[in-house]
């Protein structure tokens, strides 16, 4: 048979230990499924969305309230996007807490981290595309943070915003990044990431000589589990999208007039909390980059997980990485809660 990508990902049999729900949580596969849902719903949204400052919020309102199934479509896109961020984070936590990033999977860990950053950028640019009073300050603060970078900030700001201040050029650039630039990058890195999973020997488990379980599952069983996950996640997504609407706010009248929403989008609340402490560059740019760098260095700078301990949760050998990640996750959650609790 001709080799193809589907067969690359679905060999005739794989060790049963590689496909246990309680080990993988199905997080990576779910993320791929959600990305696919986002691609399809996003493409359909493009038929109604008009990326100009005067029309954007109105076209989102039309899509939401008058287009048949438009509201459902938008809710599906919104919830799939939020879940993708959560599921990607769960996938990252799973990989670190099981030590699955150990060589030869270190590079694929970095590819995964790059995808995580891309998902955050996707969520932020998509949020901005609403171009209503709910996103106004997030856009102003986000772009001014870029400007706060020493030396290069001004140039980055102009490339991002398309002028000396926010306007039509900004919206079309965010639109271009969201629907094309990030999609192209994301698709490339996603295929590479999935390709490397099999290249690196599939999901991380001990090498053959150290395996205690010999059980294997057939290709058919793997596909059955994948379909089961898609049906469950898809149903839950549909249910939530039917009953919980995606946020929407009145159109912006003047970009500088008081806006209704002063909170950052939920995934940046922890940064908003830190920004209250002072210097924008230090807390708004460097601090998040330090967190990212710490995550990237986990497979390179900390003690390696032992091969015989792979394939299960919390191996003793990578305790340091578990503690570091738990501390980072705890910190982000704590800051987020503080931001929700504070009035500003």
């Amino acid at each position: 048979m001709r080799p193809n990508f589907y067969l690359h990902l679905h060999p005739p049999t794989i060790p049963a230990a590689q496909a246990r729900w309680r080990y993988t949580l199905g997080a990576g596969g779910t993320a791929v499924f959600l990305a696919f849902v986002l691609l399809v719903t996003g493409a359909l949204e493009m038929f109604f969305y008009i990326p100009t400052p005067g029309e954007a919020a109105l076209s989102v309102q039309m899509l939401t309230y008058t287009v048949p199934f438009g509201g459902l479509l938008r809710n599906l896109h919104f919830w799939a996007a939020q879940w993708l961020l959560v599921v990607s984070a769960v996938h990252l936590v799973r990989v670190v807490f099981t030590g699955a990033y150990a060589p030869p999977r270190r590079f694929n860990y970095l590819l995964g981290l790059a995808l995580f950053v891309l998902v955050i950028l996707f969520d932020f640019t998509g949020y901005i595309l609403r171009w209503d009073q709910g996103i106004q300050w997030a856009l102003v603060v986000g772009t001014n943070l870029v400007k706060s970078i020493p030396l290069l900030g001004e140039a980055f700001y102009q490339i991002l915003v398309g002028g000396a201040q926010i306007g039509a050029a900004t919206l079309i650039r965010f639109y271009a990044w969201h629907v094309f630039g990030l999609t192209l990058l994301g698709a490339g890195v996603l295929f590479w990431h999935i390709f490397r999973v099999r290249r690196d020997g599939g999901i991380a488990i001990p090498p053959p000589a150290l395996r205690t379980q010999r059980e294997r599952i057939f290709h058919f069983e793997l596909v059955r589990r994948e379909i089961a996950a898609m049906v469950w996640v898809g149903s839950a997504l549909l249910l939530v999208s039917i009953f919980v609407p995606a946020p929407i706010a009145p159109a912006i009248t003047e970009i500088t007039a008081a806006a209704s929403e002063t909170h950052a989008p939920w995934f940046f609340l922890w940064v908003q909390q830190m920004l209250q402490w002072g210097d924008p560059f230090l807390w708004g740019v460097l601090a998040p980059l330090v967190v990212l760098l710490a995550l990237a260095l986990i497979p390179y700078a900390l003690p390696q997980p032992a091969p015989d301990e792979l394939g299960r949760w919390f191996p003793k050998s990578n305790r340091m990485a578990q503690v570091l990640l738990a501390a980072l996750v705890g910190l982000v959650i704590l800051l987020t809660l503080l931001a929700i609790g504070s009035k500003v």
């Binding site: 002028g163 050029a169 920004l275 500003v344």
Partner: protein, 147 residues
Amino acid sequence: MPAMRWTGEMSQITRRSFLKVSTQALLAASGMLGLGALLRYLGYQASPPPITQLDLGPASAYPPGSRTLLPDVPALLVHTEVGFSAISLVCTHLGCTVEPTPQGFACPCHGSEFDPGGLPRRGPAEKPLPSLQVEQDAEGRLILHVV
């Protein structure tokens, strides 16, 4: 006469490695040129530069003692016995519009507070809200200098 054989240092470099290095150098130079062009392309300001002056209409529209919010600047225009003055309402921290409060101004985004004169009272903002220059032209119209 036997063929002359040149034995200078250049012969240390084989033809193959010379071509390889040249190719790499040319590719690198082309890449840098392309990158430079891309940066210039992306850096072009598509939108017109922001306005620097704003005509606020006849000065008589703002009686003494009035405090007028100009939301599209955004600024607060104050008319006292001393004359007209204006204060920018763009927070000096990260650019949200500050809101007038009994104690001065407060930023809704990161909690900065300013006194009525625009001086920072509480962080994270460190710089005062800038005063904007206001003048009357010959016809008695108020001109606000935005920058």
